[in-house]
């Protein structure tokens, strides 16, 4: 083969391979940028979802961003203003690009509009994709919708800013709660500062609270002293290795298993502490 002057000729095979590399390389570049953005576009963990939403990562996969839930919430009969005949703003908002929530997904801010826990739960029954799962709010015994099974989050009290903890009489959250005496009850305590008054402290029942946020909306303090957080944020976890020995059920969880000996043996531990204490002088001559 003769060498031609100028640019080296590219064979068909080389061109094909280069084209593949070109397309693959640019595809991976674009895909990485896109995936990076998509990963960042996921919601803040503080997002409150509509009732019966799937667990957040499943919810983000499944929600198709159609807004039917928000429309059903806004246009439910109970939300129509009797004076004007127009619907008031609904509970559910559709996230915009500037919100800390995946764009186009429904969420709510209880301090603005809390969830009123409708009997017929219109936001859930209209969901076409199953991101809001009817089964999660259906009573397995009766087969009917049960608003008490809703679980949007958990109300948390800040005892420092809650004026009931100061000794002032306020039961705004207690009275606003749709599950009064179930989800929020008042705990009576003695006010030792005055010696003759009582504290009426709001206490949230973790299992009964649905996270509707009516308490947060009703709270009288400048920034609410009771507020709803997603359960994963609000709750800690002790870990499976802690067993409540006095709780039969918890003990059954681990059966009669006995823990392994995890005593550390080193030079210092050769003399057991009690031996050290029981022999010789404590001053260790």
């Amino acid at each position: 083969m003769e060498k031609k002057a100028g640019k080296p000729q590219i064979s068909e095979r080389r061109r094909f391979l280069t084209d593949i590399a070109y397309a693959g390389g640019l595809g991976i570049l674009g895909g990485l940028l896109w995936a990076g953005y998509t990963e960042k576009a996921k919601s803040s963990p503080l997002t409150l979802r509509p009732p019966a939403a799937l667990e957040e990562s499943e919810f983000l996969k499944t929600c198709i961003k159609c807004g039917l839930c928000a429309e059903a919430c806004r246009n439910r009969p109970a939300n129509i203003d009797r004076d004007t005949g127009r619907p008031r703003p609904g509970t559910l908002k559709m996230a915009k690009a500037q919100d800390d929530v995946t764009i186009g997904t429904p969420y709510f801010i209880p301090r603005e509009v809390p969830c009123y826990m409708c009997d017929d739960i219109p936001c859930v029954t209209i969901c076409p994709s199953g991101a809001l799962d009817v089964a999660k709010v259906t009573n397995p015994k009766t087969g009917e919708l049960d608003y008490k099974m809703m679980d949007m989050g958990l109300a948390v009290v800040d005892p420092n800013s809650c004026i009931a903890f100061w000794g002032l009489q306020c039961d705004a959250c207690y009275r606003a709660c749709p599950l009064m005496d179930e989800a929020i009850r008042l705990e009576y305590d003695q006010n030792k500062r005055t010696g003759k008054h009582a504290f009426l402290k709001p206490v949230v029942d973790m299992d009964a609270c649905t996270g509707c946020g009516l308490c947060e909306k009703a709270c009288v303090t400048e920034k609410p002293a009771i507020f709803v957080l997603p359960r994963e944020v609000a709750l800690g976890k002790a870990g499976d290795h802690y067993v409540k020995g006095w709780d039969k059920k918890d003990q059954e969880r681990v059966g009669n298993r006995v823990g392994k000996d995890v005593t550390t043996h080193d030079q210092r531990s050769e003399k057991a502490p009690q031996d050290y204490l029981n022999s010789g002088s404590l001053l260790g001559e």
Partner: protein, 274 residues
Amino acid sequence: MKWSNIKYLVLRRIVQLSLLALYFMGNWYGWKVLQGDLSASLLFGKVPLSDPFAILQTLATGALLATNALVGALIIMLFYGIIGGRAFCSWVCPVNMVTDLAAWLRRKLLIDRIERKIWISRNLRYYLLVIALIVSALTGLAAFEVISPITILNRGVIFGFGAGAGLLVAIFLFDLFAVKNGWCGHLCPLGGFHSLVGKYNLFRVWHTSENCTLCMKCKTVCPEVEVLKMIGKRSEFVVGKECTNCGRCVDVCDDDALGFDLRNFLSNPKGGNQ
């Protein structure tokens, strides 16, 4: 201006704006004609409709979808696959109005006449389509749906605009100054998806070569100009899958050389000739 020169343009704008108005009223006044948005809707409070590309991305994430969403996607696929072709892009999609405005301004301001060295392959949308599905699978979030200007504009009209409106301005400027028909004709993976779905639909533009005077007005206005390669050469259907059935070519033709017709697959399996 003669009616026959703007007929399909006006009809398209009426359809696009009516759909937006119905969606808006569905949320604002609770009308039950068309609720939801272009991702998924409820027609007359009964019939589910959903965006098959959004559903495909959702399936790619590994989500288990309820039947309504799947049935809705099937209905839409059948409609465009048999009747509409790629008509979603020019008759339904609201971004079409933004990019058409940019294309119109390009022609009026003679920006088209200046040659610039920005070139993108018209096939890029198909690569982006595949990448969208891969990214959806990797991240567990429908990838195009978080950046789609179509849903941003659509939801903006229904639920109020947010910062996402900036993306629409960006697309307008991109189409105006960077690449002619840049978004709809090169990048949009949803458009690519509808091209594939509507490849074998029945309604297409028929070109009568004998009437053609080679004025090339059709090629000036066509957003997917490669589909008009037969103009003045052969009498045949515009079969290119990228044709959006917008009918602008039919509008601008003064010689009765272009018009909508039904493809006959029986006499010709490819549907290329009548």
